[in-house]
């Protein structure tokens, strides 16, 4: 078993009085692609926000490469090599496509990804490089969001609902690009509502239900009926 890159230890998350995550335990090894599935409100996005530091946690609850990072600020976590492709893309509307990508690279981490590499991965972005990011189609915007995260040359990339609101043909284009991304040795965690899509690209899957891990297993051995039960919480 390769070295763990990320360990979650009894991770709780709160929004004010509301508790969204309850004692999540997770181990992610270097180079793995992990799918996180679950119904709406299961805590998937909260999990992404916690790992990327947008929600504060106790230091020891999130351990990255042996370092407790739970209490760090989001920008410190980004510096250490975790990048988030946020839900809803969150592009910078005042900036052009190219500027959006360049902002992603300003952490100054070395690695394989550069503006040229991103344009090779998504050639359409090169054509549109001087356009305002928000004048692009939804799929192209998603490409900018992914490219922007890659520009930081992260070791761990978090995808939060990258297929949300996109046409199936666009989703396919984006998912086709994933192997090229994780093929570079990057570890990835992928939040996805579309279970089939999620399972097709991942090696391991966690299912969340009401803030708790309801199922965990290797993608090839996991049983679809178990998933359905874990997903909807219907104990038979």
């Amino acid at each position: 078993m390769p070295e763990p890159i990320l360990q979650l230890r009894v991770l709780d998350a709160h929004y004010g009085d509301f508790q969204a995550l309850f004692g999540i335990d997770m181990d992610v090894s270097d180079g793995e692609v992990i799918a996180i599935i679950g119904a709406n409100g299961a805590g998937k996005t909260t999990l992404m926000r916690s790992i990327s530091g947008l929600l504060p946690n106790a230091a020891a609850q999130i351990v990255y490469r042996g370092q407790p990072i739970g209490a760090l600020r989001a920008d410190q976590i980004a510096q250490s090599g975790i990048a988030l492709v946020p839900e809803g893309r969150q592009l910078f509307p005042s900036l052009s496509v190219e500027e959006n990508l360049l902002i992603g690279g300003q952490v100054g981490r070395k690695g394989p990804w550069s503006l040229e590499q991103i344009f090779q991965l998504f050639p359409v972005l090169k054509e549109r490089r001087n356009q305002a990011a928000t004048t692009l189609s939804g799929g192209q915007q998603q490409m900018v969001a992914i490219g922007r995260a890659l520009m930081a040359n992260p070791d761990l990339i978090l995808f939060d609902e990258i297929s949300l609101g996109l046409a199936p043909v666009i989703i396919k284009t984006i998912y086709d690009a994933l192997p090229q991304i994780v093929g570079q040795g990057m570890t990835a965690m992928l939040v996805e509502q579309d279970i089939t899509k999620a399972l097709s690209v991942s090696s391991r899957v966690y299912c969340l239900q009401e803030g708790r891990v309801s199922l965990e297993g290797r993608t090839e051995t996991i049983d679809r009926d178990d998933i359905t039960r874990a997903y909807f919480g219907t104990e038979s």
Partner: protein, 324 residues
């Protein structure tokens, strides 16, 4: 660019073609323009909506008086020193008020300004609550003749406005300006990309405070008299500045110019009406905020695709059919 250079030259020659009253008015316009650019950078780009910038205007003014009267500095050196001291002072102030968000931040800045005002009112060597005048020998050190002094303070005002505009423009064009725009657009995404939001905002706050204090020093170098109420007036140094930026177009570089021109046009034509003038300003501000939240420049820009300061993306020839 050439037109701008010629315009600046004509304005710089004003002491030879304008009367004393016009010169004074123009000087005031430049200083307001500079204040508007600074507030716009802070509120319109960094999202720091301060209603307490009079703290630094008054601080700069008082530092000018204190450093020339007791430190024996030349007035211009004193004004620059005021900027440096204000920058140092703004760091602990920021550490305090940056804990507050949104409306609470705004109130926090105002309270800070009041603390400044009350503190300076306690200093009896600076005239306490009734204020003091700049001693004659200090005034004379600037220039021997009255017209020479007036021309010099005019050029200082013009120069400072140009420096402030150039600095703001170059800053926003720089890489740090890009991150600032990113923060304004989406703090969540910016933080997730490794941008230290707190530090970026602090830098903007410190730089704006320093420049605001320098402008404050120049304002009171023109006035030659200072009192706590005049120096820390929320009306004069913040409300009018906000008015200028909002009607001109917040978060644009052209807005403050238009706002300043509009404000002085209104002031010069309506000032005789007393309170009615303030009511007109208030009503106009409300109407603009409701009908054209991007200000007059926003209206102009949406009509004609125009930019005096090329800052935003331009659709290049790759895709001629796509509008930005």
């Amino acid at each position: 660019m050439i037109i701008a250079a010629i315009g600046v030259l004509i304005l710089a020659a004003a002491p030879w073609w304008a009367g004393r009253a016009e010169l004074r008015l123009l000087g005031e316009i430049y200083l307001y323009l500079a204040l508007a650019y600074l507030w716009n950078l802070m509120a319109g780009y960094a999202g720091l909506v301060s209603v307490g910038q009079q703290a630094y205007v008054g601080f700069g003014g008082y530092m000018l008086f204190a450093l020339t009267m007791f430190g024996g500095l030349h007035p211009i050196a004193a004004v620059l020193a005021a900027g440096v001291i204000a920058a140092l002072l703004s760091v602990p102030v920021a550490a305090l008020i940056f804990r507050l968000k949104g409306a609470y931040f705004a109130i926090g800045t105002w309270v800070t300004a009041e603390v400044f005002r009350l503190s300076f009112a306690q200093v009896s060597s600076l005239g306490g609550g009734s204020g003091s005048s700049l001693p004659v020998n200090v005034v004379k050190s600037l220039a021997a003749s009255r017209s020479g002094r007036e021309a010099l303070s005019y050029w200082l005002a013009l120069g400072s406005a140009i420096v402030v505009i150039a600095c703001v423009y170059l800053f926003l064009r720089s890489r740090r300006g890009l991150t600032l725009t990113a923060i304004r657009d989406s703090e969540v995404a910016a933080a997730g990309l490794g941008i230290n939001i707190w530090r970026t905002k602090l830098e903007v706050y410190v730089v704006t405070s320093a420049f605001t204090a320098i402008i404050g020093g120049l304002i009171f170098l023109q006035k030659l008299r200072i009192s706590p109420d005049a120096a820390f007036s929320v009306n004069d140094w913040t409300a009018f500045v906000i008015f200028i930026v909002v009607i001109g177009g917040i978060g644009t570089l052209e807005g403050p110019i238009i706002g300043t021109i509009l404000f002085f046009l209104l002031r010069e034509t309506l000032a005789d009406l007393g309170t009615v003038y303030l009511i007109v300003l208030g009503v106009l501000a409300i109407v603009i905020m409701l009908k054209a939240p991007k200000g007059v420049w926003g209206l102009i820009r949406s009509r004609f695709d125009l930019e005096l300061f090329p800052l935003s993306y331009r659709v290049k020839t790759d895709t001629p059919d796509k509008g930005a």
